[in-house]
Symmetry: C2
Subunit: 217 residues, 2 copies
């Protein structure tokens, strides 16, 4: 195994309350048969290694299967399609971010007032997305699929909840979409890399947007 990034054990562990968070994040822990669970871990590990070696663009399903020592069909059955594999890889790397805003210390964690958490969330998300932008961009093939990604849904409901708690003006869910859209990975990447915009300007705009909806720090 030798986890590169997260010390988080992958095995499906139903019933444990603490893993319910990851459960919400991963969507379907899906009691797997022993061999299936083992192969799933092997595949994610192999994909991670290939990813750093060859980049997302050269990550083929067959190479992942070969590197994990399983058949090609196994990869597809487990992850449905290439995008599914990339999303699984991403979800796996979100543990840190999720921990930060679900159980971490202020200003992001639950011990800070909602307004403060909101203001802190944007910049943190931008940093996180910058760190994983290659994988994120590669996983955005079907534009509608985004709304089904567990991590995205978690962020959305988190922001929506905070907006409601902070008594933000307007419809919380719509505003949450607007907020998250304003710092969506492709946009941020385009503005910073292609248009040379400073990332501080984007953070500023996040705070500005919150302020205009009555969410003062």
């Amino acid at each position: 195994m030798t986890a590169l990034l997260p010390p988080l054990p992958e095995p499906p562990d139903p019933g444990d309350a603490r893993t319910n968070l990851t459960l919400a994040a991963t969507g379907e822990p899906e009691m797997l048969r022993a061999d299936a669970a083992r192969n799933r871990a092997l595949l994610l590990d192999a994909a991670s290694r290939l990813l750093v070696r060859c980049g997302a663009a050269n990550l083929t399903m067959e190479s992942v299967a070969a590197a994990a020592g399983v058949g090609k069909g196994t990869v597809f059955r487990r992850f449905k399609d290439r995008t599914g594999l990339l999303i699984a890889l991403l979800d796996h790397r979100e543990a840190l971010l999720q921990a930060a805003f679900l159980t971490g210390p202020p200003p992001m964690g639950p011990d800070a007032p909602a307004a403060e958490r909101l203001h802190a969330f944007g910049p943190a998300l931008m940093r996180h997305e910058r760190d994983h932008h290659e994988l994120i961009l590669a996983s955005r093939t079907d534009p509608l699929r985004t709304y089904e990604v567990p991590a995205q849904r978690l962020r959305l409901s988190h922001v929506t909840l905070l907006l409601r708690q902070a008594r933000a003006a307007g419809e919380p869910e719509l505003l949450a979409h607007t907020l998250l859209g304003s710092i969506d990975t492709p946009l941020v990447h385009h503005l910073t890399c292609e248009r040379g915009m400073d990332i501080d300007r984007l953070e500023e705009s996040w705070h500005d947007l919150l302020n205009r909806y009555g969410v003062q720090r």
Copy 2:
């Protein structure tokens, strides 16, 4: 050397809207050889017909080539790739919308005050995108490619210009991105079709967002 291809650099976006607009709108009309121009028209026509008959998902490059009576290579040379073909089809259908906000009557056209044009633009864009959502969604494969699509660039610079004219608060270009993002096709489709949200709520949210940045009708 006969410059055939695109003068796409266009890095800075100075004030001159009109020249950029036509340029951005047409993309690359670019003097083609007679046979090439004829084949381009044949291909777009064939693709259009296949689109209504079989849907975007079943539109294969080979079938388009066959329906137009040309070789497969010709399709790729003209449109670069499948996404390029879809974008070309889309651009072709944007003529009406563009005419409406570039040269049409108030409240969208140039004879209305900027604030009014902005308020009218959102709902009109949403209607347009709903009418062509299948093609739009199918063309969104590469998330960064969106920012290169002529029609998108045109919309962005149009909204940016209007925001500047209307003395909107904040950075015009960033706000333009946020505004357009809040009614982006995939989002609108998700909210209305999957979540059962009423489209009026979305229009309302567009007006609200404008108002909060000081753009009153």
